[in-house]
Amino acid sequence: MADVRAHAADSREDDAHPPELRHHFANLPAQREASTLAMWMFLVTEVLFFGGMFTAYVVYRSTYRRAFEGASNLLDLTLGTVNTAVLICSSLTMALAVWASGAGKKKATILFLIGTILLGGVFLGIKAVEYTQKFQHHEVPGPHFVVPLDERTHQPLPRQSEMFFSLYFCMTGLHAAHMIIGVGLLTWLIVKAKNDAFSPRYNTPVDLVGLYWHFVDVIWIFLFPLLYLLGRHTL
């Protein structure tokens, strides 16, 4: 996803006269408005990018309802809930970082950015734990997949539960990839913040990375109920 970093890099702009103003823009607000509009359009492409998998999820869940409900109950609910909470906290610290950079509080900005990275790291850590659990239980789709047993009836789930795990790994895997890119962007922001790149007049890059991070959080906000909670009522 090199384009995301380059995209944010492009709107970072540090050139002559007011240092951050690019030669072809009239003034800083115009440049900020253009960059924000571009970021929102990029987020539209991300919505449709995940949208393809949500379509597959909707179609296969209606076709193989029991398999999906049974397989979903095998996911670790506590880890999922904790992950959701962690991500919401990271969204909070990210929003505060954007506020701090806009208010010119350099130290607070850096602290909040570090907080966001740590929370992102915790999220990825929990994801890694979940993935290793799946590997151990042979719930990873592909040749080594073993049809798991239903939580309640201890009967083997329908074979199509493998489809649920295929979608689970594709969706959460792509989400995790976006998280990793987000963490990369945040570390780059911290480096710039240390060099006094941001001021109340110019904090566009922090704002844009904030938009991206909040978007990744919204994706998880939808992934969590659709993947973890769909079958709980059958228990």
Binding site: L28, P29, A30, R32, E33, T36, L37, W40, M41, L43, V44, V47, L48, G51, G52, F54, T55, V58, V59, S62, T63, L77, T81, T84, A85, I88, C89, S91, L92, M94, A95, L96, V98, W99, G102, A103, P200, R201, N203, D207, G210, L211, H214, F215, D217, V218, I221, F222, F224, P225, L226, L229, L230, R232, H233, L235
Partner: protein, 102 residues
């Protein structure tokens, strides 16, 4: 066109949204254990949509953004709806084929 600090909200607003999101997460987990029959999924989706709106409007300061950004966000939801609804309409209407015609 607002710029600088005024585009982002106040910390107080952020903590309010944070609390709401945490509460809604708890709510959706709790609600998933209830036997609401066919209503389980709509309830979960409604909660997720509320959380998404909270994040978008306040964390992503969509409220203060120019109208154009608002349209861009709406177009994402609309096209996602086109993709999902029209595709599922094919699957829903597949068994409607009459077996023995007139």
């Amino acid at each position: 066109m607002s710029h600088g600090a005024s585009t982002s909200g106040t910390p107080k607003a952020y903590f309010g949204v944070f609390a709401a999101l945490m509460a809604l997460t708890g709510l959706t987990v709790w609600a998933s254990f209830l036997h609401l029959g066919v209503w389980n999924t709509p309830v979960a989706l409604a909660i997720a949509v509320t959380k998404g709106l909270l994040v978008a409007l306040i964390f992503m300061h969509l409220r203060h953004s120019p109208r154009l950004t608002f349209f861009v966000a709406i177009s994402a939801i609309l096209w996602l709806a086109f993709l999902i609804l029209i595709t599922t309409s094919d699957y829903v209407t597949r068994p409607w084929l009459p077996i023995y015609g007139s």
